[in-house]
């Protein structure tokens, strides 16, 4: 009870939210690097995945990329950036790391989604005289949509999580509240920071689930 009460006090103290190291600024940093990284990763991964999926090529790449992404520790990659001259370039080390870890889930899920489109449906569309482009826009994309959104969701959660690890190597973001708490043996602050980071991840997941339902081209969800 003690820690939770103290953490609540920390969260409701205005002074902890203001200033350069305050929670509001850290949240802003977190959202900024996460948003930029997700946009860049999407711009790189989705065109490649959709093209490869449409053409039916590069399956090994899509699967292996995901496995590699799992095996490489985020913390190690951020640390590698921080012992090079990249450490002096503001948010770049974080953004590059976030993009690297957001690409695999985006690419793999979008690719699998495209490949899982029923071949019979594709053949039927071709038989109706659809061109490659029409097939892609009107058949494959709507049918692959659930998996593309699954990839987007797991990439977004991944990005928010990775952005918090950035604090462990001294970069900005909400994780700094946690690491600062560790440095001053302030368990209440550590707990408060953790609640903020976990809350943010859950909110992002929730918003994307809602967005998914709202935008679904089929309106009826496939059973998970």
């Amino acid at each position: 009870m003690g820690v939770i009460g103290d953490a609540w006090t920390w969260l409701t103290t205005g002074a902890n939210w203001s200033g350069d190291g305050g929670a509001a600024h850290r949240l802003g940093e977190h959202l900024y690097v996460s948003g930029v990284s997700l946009a860049v990763a999407g711009a790189i991964a989705l065109p490649i995945a959709l093209y490869l999926g449409h053409k039916g090529k590069g399956g090994a790449l899509a699967v292996n990329l995901s496995n590699v992404g799992r095996a490489v520790p985020v913390f190690a990659v951020l640390a590698l950036f921080m012992v090079t001259s990249l450490r002096n370039s503001g948010y770049w080390p974080t953004i590059i790391a976030l993009v690297l870890f957001a690409v695999p889930p985006l690419l793999t899920n979008a690719y699998v989604g495209m490949r899982e489109v029923d071949r019979a449906v594709v053949e039927a569309a071709r038989g109706m005289g659809m061109s490659g482009g029409q097939l892609f826009v009107r058949v494959e994309l709507p049918l692959a949509y659930p998996m593309i959104m699954t990839g987007l969701r797991s990439a977004a959660v991944q990005v928010v999580a990775t952005a918090s690890i950035a604090a462990m190597v001294g970069l900005g973001g909400l994780g700094r509240i946690i690491t600062a708490g560790f440095n001053t043996y302030d368990t209440a602050q550590v707990f408060a920071g953790a609640v903020l980071v976990a809350g943010l991840a859950l909110v992002v997941e929730g918003v994307l689930v809602g967005l998914d339902r709202l935008l679904s081209p089929l309106r009826r969800r496939r059973p998970a």
């Binding site: 799992r70 889930p105 990839g151 690890i165 001294g170 707990f191 976990a198 859950l202």
Partner: protein, 245 residues
């Protein structure tokens, strides 16, 4: 001309570092392996009954799958910090966090494996007088083994990577070496520890693949099954998530 030590010039690759700190590297690797193995074993021991529970129907499946999914969404830094008041700065904190993460993958894969057992196989076993326990152990589990092992491999590889974050509380195996090297920008130590992490993950993955082959000799008999190893390697395609943060 005297050669300058690679420790002084702060080279990425440094033989002298490997020689002089071999004990430190070995200790960190042992801690890393220990934390990973304990976490995955406990995770499996918890996930198995949870999967059996979830199989009893949607009344149980919904809360089990919902809870493990929520846990999986919590970033590792936050997870370890939320456990701090309960465990203090201990290896138990890191192991608990890693167990909670592994549950999602393991429960889903065990469930998927059991669900995919052909109905005819179960009917045949029941017809031969198999009770539910014997049916599970002698028919369903062996047939579910490839999916279960795929889950175990994914969980193990992610756990190896996630263990590094344990350096937050000083129990991160090779992650501790990375953290220690940061203030002095010690390149050789960061690179060596990072490479060792990836090597550990790959070795663990191959060992589990070998174990899977040993446990499922029948899959090697027919050529048809052997022709599609890529699919089983990837696990079920639906949750292609990457837990690294």
């Amino acid at each position: 001309m005297a050669e300058q030590s690679c420790l002084v010039t702060n080279d990425w690759i440094c033989g002298e570092y490997l020689r002089s700190r071999s004990q430190e590297l070995a200790d960190a690797t042992v801690q890393h392996i220990g934390i990973t193995v304990v976490s995955v074993l406990i995770g499996f021991a918890v996930a198995f009954p949870l999967a059996l529970l979830a199989r009893r129907g949607p009344r149980f499946a919904a809360p089990v799958l919902g809870l493990t999914t929520v846990l999986y969404t919590v970033p590792s830094l936050a997870m370890f910090s939320l456990l701090l008041p309960l465990f203090g700065l201990s290896a138990a904190l890191v192991v608990t966090g890693l167990v909670l993460y592994s549950l999602t993958i393991l429960v889903r894969n065990i469930l998927a494996g059991l669900d995919a057992v052909p109905q005819e196989a179960k009917e045949a076993a029941r017809g031969m007088g198999y009770g539910p326990g014997r049916l599970l152990w002698e028919v369903e589990l062996p047939l579910a083994l490839p999916a279960v092992m795929a889950g175990l491999r994914i969980a193990t590889v992610s756990t190896v990577a996630l263990t590094t974050v344990g350096s937050l509380v000083g129990k991160g195996g090779l992650g501790n070496l990375i953290e220690d090297a940061l203030p002095s920008f010690f390149k050789a130590q960061v690179l060596t520890a990072a490479v060792l992490c990836v090597v550990l993950a790959v070795v663990a993955d191959l060992l589990l693949l070998g174990l899977q082959r040993l446990l499922t000799p029948w899959t090697r008999i027919s050529g048809a099954v052997e022709a599609a190893p890529a699919k089983t390697d990837a696990g079920p395609p639906a949750p292609a998530t990457v837990k690294a943060g």
